[in-house]
Symmetry: C2
Subunit: 219 residues, 2 copies
Amino acid sequence: MKKYFSVLRECALFCDIADEDLLRMLSCLGARVESFDKKYTIFAEGKPVRHIGIVLSGSAQAVQLDYYGNRSIVMGIGVGEVFGEAFACAEVPAIPVSIVANEPCEVMLIDCGHILHTCANHCSFHHQMIYNMMRDLAMKNLRFHHRVEITSKRSTRDKLLAYLLMFAKETGKDSFDIPFDRQELADFLEVDRSGLSAEIGKMKKEGLIECNKNHFVLL
Amino acid sequence: MKKYFSVLRECALFCDIADEDLLRMLSCLGARVESFDKKYTIFAEGKPVRHIGIVLSGSAQAVQLDYYGNRSIVMGIGVGEVFGEAFACAEVPAIPVSIVANEPCEVMLIDCGHILHTCANHCSFHHQMIYNMMRDLAMKNLRFHHRVEITSKRSTRDKLLAYLLMFAKETGKDSFDIPFDRQELADFLEVDRSGLSAEIGKMKKEGLIECNKNHFVLL
DNA sequence: AGAAATCGGTTGAATTTTCAACAAAAGGAG
DNA sequence: CTCCTTTTGTTGAAAATTCAACCGATTTCT
């Protein structure tokens, strides 16, 4: 487990928890690590989840498929980020999205009940973890607000610009790689891929942005 | 304060807290009640918030205004519901939405710090409240997932249907009043009002729904 | 290295949405 | 009750998105 400490230290769920406590905690929590191939569905839409996941390597996505097979990407999930916690904490009988491995990845799985409910050993870290979970959920909420800000824009261009500006603001740079390919970006922005490609082309010509594959520069 | 107990008992934040503790708690938390006129901005976009709000009567909305003045309604906030908690818990320097009174309303305001951090009196309820706050935030997360499911639809009709079906599923009825007028519904679904009116008209003619003002029936 | 699959850009046509403007209906104030 | 404001429905034109199809380029796999 120790090799994952560098990731876990950055994970919101383990904030303010000392290294020396971590190993004991993980054992008490029954944490286990699993590996998934690209495209593997880690949690399936419509099913309940009792576990939360922490991405240790690779990346995943929260994905929704509708009636007609249209995909929408609700959020990207990178190294150190948690997924499934909202569903596990709210104890929903059917989760509204699937969590899909975006590339080969390792995930730490923890039964959420073990986190939230004091165990027989009367471990002392539960309160801290509940507090951390609360902060994590508050941050997730913020991300949804940002997503609404982006997708509420009516035109493809405004959505893309809102997304890129948000990215620039978060990273503090105006040159960055986004974690999506074209189709994924379209499915995140809720627009048509070909229209998105066309719009990116126009914006390049107008000198608004530079773009090469998934590398963008704001001008 | 006692006259608000019937509301507070239903509030997710006070779940599993006994009536006899409530009064003492509210005093310790420094809870105060304020009244706001219709359209009053309770929390303003761009500012930080330290307080959470609980709607005691009336209703409010979380509203975002963009560049061009386009409004989008992020969520409706009814009696017994909490607002601002995500921003206060995440300690953001600038909140991304405004909270606006949708009609005359009474709101209980509580400094979030008083909830999350143990006070000098060593009150025992903080842990329970942090737990409740966590559950509340998890439920809010779910609502965002549902909102994404609705607004990710590409057409006005599909968005409206998704919204109505969601409403029917939550209330368990296929006949209900929605909490929005036409313009508000359009701003929630992220579509044009006139187009929405036209679409509702079509769907009535096709026998898909009945609709009278804000009362809808699914057929 | 070669074949297959994926990805990204382009195009034109069809469909929708948006926009602005107007009129009818409903609701409130005096 | 009447006037004024707000809300809702309608319309037509303009603009944008979607859709399907195609092709070249890149990547992946054997």
